[in-house]
């Protein structure tokens, strides 16, 4: 597999055109703040007030490199940065014609071309941007580190197009490795064929169908025995929200209370998707499901979702976290902690899992929705570490986007009226306030 590289991401909605990045770029490269020296440019659309970005993308097939007659441009294989060698450059400017992103531009002051070099791995622009509009994404490390590891899940399983669960299973098993017993209770994960059909299995580790109701218990039993005979085998559950928050909650709660050693991952697609999109206790308020339908009398679910991860934190689990596949780096970091925590207790990760089929959105929107869920504070990302009683957000909950930006992408919320949206917005706020009490407590203690 080819190497992946770090990148600078731009979230135009968060930009307010303050130009701090431009100054920071100019300063770090020349010591002056004149925008003429900046490798990054932000442009404002005077009509709709939106912002655009001109910055080198550090292309995989860099046209500038191909068009340079002097061999002055090349891709650094380690960092992926397209590097410009001033001593080789003959200043022909063919690169400025080659690049269609204004990634390499002519500087009229120095009379040379200039381009972003990612500040050697610590880009000043992203650092200075207080609004999170520019973000230095280092998630490529994950792909480089884990991408070559064996995918313990076979190709060709029968998941829906754009299924978040499949993505999760593949990543998670790669990270956790083959010394693992995997439990996939009835639900989508089992339904896609993880345990297999008619004698063929899809998973290269030991894997089984527990009952919908006893996942945590069965894993607890297996782990206890392995402890007894001195083998360190990881117990891993991929439960759906039904098998976790509804009918399987008792066994999970019991196992959590006893501190059974396992990683329990709840893939929360907010309903019984495998059986045809019925309501579960984690189905959010207002959402359409086949059992909370929309008609002239009913307008989707009338109750709020059960705050499962908070409940698990209250169980004193060794580790509890929320995650979203739009934030893979965060997820991997949490997996690492979960692996460590599961050596002495229960690690519970609650993964927000948009479902194209059941939520009614095009498969290609999956990651965008997973991201918007977080950015609107619908699914705040946080973690709780029992050892030290730490609680913190792993993605800022300040300045969230309005919840409509999330809801409007999803078919199951299409019918919402203003009151319902208002309710959701308020509940989001209330939940954040509650979570903030934990994080503030943590801050007070730290200071």
């Amino acid at each position: 597999m080819d190497k992946s590289y770090h990148t600078i991401a731009f979230y135009p909605q968060k930009c307010n055109g303050c130009n701090d990045c431009i100054e920071a770029c100019a300063r770090i490269n020349t010591g002056e703040v004149s925008p003429a020296h900046s490798r990054i440019a932000i442009v404002k659309d005077s009509e709709d007030g939106s912002f655009g970005l001109a910055l080198c993308r550090q292309c995989g097939e860099p046209r500038c490199v191909m068009d340079c007659p002097a061999g002055a441009l090349s891709k650094n294989e380690d960092t992926g940065v397209i590097q410009w060698e001033e001593t080789k450059c003959v200043n022909c400017q063919l690169c400025t014609l080659a690049c269609s992103y204004a990634g390499i531009t002519y500087n009229p002051v120095t009379r040379k071309v200039m381009k972003c070099d990612m500040c050697g791995g610590d880009p000043a622009c992203a650092k200075v941007c207080g609004r999170g509009a520019l973000e230095y994404l280092t998630s490529s490390d994950l792909y480089d580190k884990w991408g070559d590891m064996e995918d313990l899940f076979v190709p060709g399983i029968s998941a829906c197009l754009g299924c978040n669960s499949e993505l999760l299973i593949r990543h998670t098993l790669r990270r956790i490795g083959p010394e693992t017993v995997v439990a996939t209770p009835p639900g989508c994960v089992a339904g896609v064929g993880s345990v297999g059909v008619n004698g063929f299995t899809a998973t290269k580790t030991p894997v089984f169908h527990p009952l919908l109701t006893n996942t945590a218990s069965m894993l607890a039993g297996a782990r206890r025995y392995y402890n007894r005979i001195g083998r360190d085998i990881t117990m891993l559950a991929f439960g759906g929200d039904g098998g976790t928050a509804d009918v399987g909650f008792q066994s999970l709660s019991g196992a959590a209370e006893r501190g059974e050693q396992m990683i329990y991952i709840c893939i929360d697609n907010e309903g019984y998707m495998n059986t045809g999109v019925q309501r579960s206790s984690t189905t959010p308020y207002g959402a359409w499901t086949s059992t909370t339908p929309v008609g002239s009398v009913l307008r989707g679910k009338t109750q709020d979702a059960k705050p499962m991860p908070v409940l698990m934190m209250m169980h004193n689990c060794a580790y509890v976290a929320t995650a979203s596949t739009a934030f893979m780096e965060d997820y991997y970091a949490k997996l690492d902690k979960a692996v460590a925590a599961a050596k002495h207790g229960m690690a519970y990760i609650h993964v927000f899992s948009p479902c194209p089929t059941g939520w009614r959105f095009p498969p290609a929107m999956l990651i965008e929705i997973a991201r918007k869920g977080v950015e609107t504070n619908t699914v705040p990302l946080w973690e709780y570490i029992n050892d030290g009683n730490e609680f913190h957000f792993t993605h800022s909950v300040d300045n969230p986007l309005p919840v409509q930006e999330f809801l409007s992408l999803i078919g199951k919320y299409r019918h919402l009226d203003a009151d319902q949206i208002d309710h959701i917005q308020k509940m989001n706020k209330r939940r954040i306030e509650m979570l903030k009490m934990f994080s503030e407590q943590e801050e007070r203690r730290a200071s």
């Binding site: 083959p178 010394e179 693992t180 017993v181 089992a190 064929g193 345990v195 297999g196 059909v197 008619n198 004698g199 063929f200 299995t201 899809a202 998973t203 290269k204 580790t205 030991p206 894997v207 089984f208 169908h209 527990p210 009952l211 109701t213 006893n214 218990s217 069965m218 894993l219 607890a220 039993g221 297996a222 782990r223 206890r224 025995y225 392995y226 402890n227 007894r228 005979i229 085998i233 008792q250 066994s251 709660s253 019991g254 196992a255 209370e257 006893r258």
Partner: protein, 398 residues
């Protein structure tokens, strides 16, 4: 060294567990099983049982943790009854087809409603078609011995099925008798090597998909399912042979002999017989002795193994008599009769000539079936020889 103590049935069962050396015991209290769970816990606390004690949040999880442990290779034990069994039913139901040799005491209890916490075999009889081996004990000694034997039966390669050792709630759970605890070395030698998951495992060294989806419209799916079903049925039938062999070996090595499937008591020259199951048998035998003294040619057939159903052994026994009275401690709602009665009727079909058979239902809700009750049972059965055949079941303790 063996040693003799005086104890109730629940403690005797716990001593059986001590000797079988399980890796994991899971407990959850329910009357009248609770003291068994307490004995087990205390024995673990005292180091007598060197097992992982899992005191989980309900019977459903009790069996679930044992399944997980068993799939990882553990020898396991638990006990329950009544509503606990009902709550456990979901994992209980899949233990036999998973072929997990889990041993579980059923301290039998009547089912609710009406609310009732006393003995009766309604719980065990209700789950008789699920695929667990069921053996019913007559004495506290037999409870202890059968628990140990149950491991050897369940873990036998030709069987690989979970096993219930049943004793009556109240009457046996709390009834005190003298019991000999066998020598650990003798038991170890008797049980031999443990190997609970050679056929199905959750083990990274032998990765496999346990219980993949099977069946469906694809022809191969359904036939695969049938193969599994037939395999479980075959294991059950093999168990008839294995239970006999194990009981024989127990007698040879430990010196206590039990009829493995069906015990024939004073049957050889009997004209008619009564059929008993579980703890009632003692009173039944006393009543038979008394009737014999009075010149009645009556015998007794005790059901030890009810699942698998010992058709041949029962056929051999009932073939010796001209009438039977069958005593059940539970009901078959669908037949307005006792379940054991129903099965004996099925057995009788295999005889050439028809003989009368009467269903007696007694001992429900903790009631005692006394010698007097049995004397009446014997009398009623005797009258059938004179064509006085009662309509429907005869309810005792009414």
């Amino acid at each position: 060294m063996s040693k003799t103590i005086v104890c109730d049935g629940n403690e005797a069962a716990a001593w059986g567990v001590v000797k079988a050396r399980p890796d994991m015991v899971a407990v959850y209290p329910i009357t009248p099983q609770s003291s068994l769970a307490e004995y087990i816990s205390q024995f673990v606390a005292d180091g007598l049982i060197e097992a992982d004690l899992m005191d989980v949040e309900g019977e459903h999880s009790v069996l679930s943790v044992l399944q997980g442990a068993c799939l990882a290779g553990a020898r396991t034990f638990t006990a329950t009854c009544g509503q606990g069994l009902a709550f456990m039913f979901e994992p209980y139901f899949r233990t036999p087809p998973l072929r997990l040799p889990i041993v579980m005491s059923l301290v039998t209890r009547d089912g609710i409603s009406p609310q009732c916490v006393w003995g009766g075999q309604q719980d065990a009889m209700t789950v008789r078609e699920v695929g667990w081996i069921q053996m019913y004990c007559e004495t506290n000694q037999e409870i202890l011995d059968t628990i140990i034997m149950a491991y050897k039966i369940a873990e036998h390669r030709d069987v690989m099925l979970p096993t219930n050792v049943c004793h009556d709630g109240n009457y046996q759970s709390y009834g005190v008798e003298q019991v000999e605890i066998p020598d650990q070395g003798d038991v170890d030698a008797f049980l031999g090597e443990k190997n609970t998951n050679w056929h199905v495992a959750l083990d990274p060294d032998r990765p496999m998909g346990v219980d993949p989806l099977t069946g469906g419209a694809a022809a191969s799916g359904a036939s695969l399912f049938v193969r599994y079903r037939k395999g479980t049925c075959k294991g059950m039938q093999n168990a008839l042979r294995v239970i006999a062999e194990v009981h024989e070996e127990w007698g040879r090595k430990i010196g206590r002999h039990y009829s493995p499937l069906v015990e024939e008591y004073r049957l050889d020259d009997a004209d008619y017989a009564i059929v008993t199951i579980g703890g009632m048998t003692g009173a039944g035998k006393d009543a038979v002795d008394m009737a014999r003294e009075a010149g009645e040619k009556v015998g007794l057939i005790k059901v030890k193994t009810f699942r698998p159903y010992p058709l041949q052994a029962m056929l051999q026994a009932v073939s010796k008599v001209k009438a039977v009275g069958i005593v059940d401690r539970s009901v078959s709602f669908g037949w307005n009769a006792g379940p054991v009665y129903q099965e004996v009727l099925s057995t009788l079909y295999h005889r050439k000539e028809r003989i009368p058979a009467v269903s007696f239902i007694g001992g429900l809700a903790g009631a005692d079936i006394t010698e007097d009750h049995f004397s009446q049972i014997i009398e009623t059965t005797a009258r059938t020889l004179r064509d006085e055949i009662p309509e429907g079941p005869i309810w005792i303790n009414e």
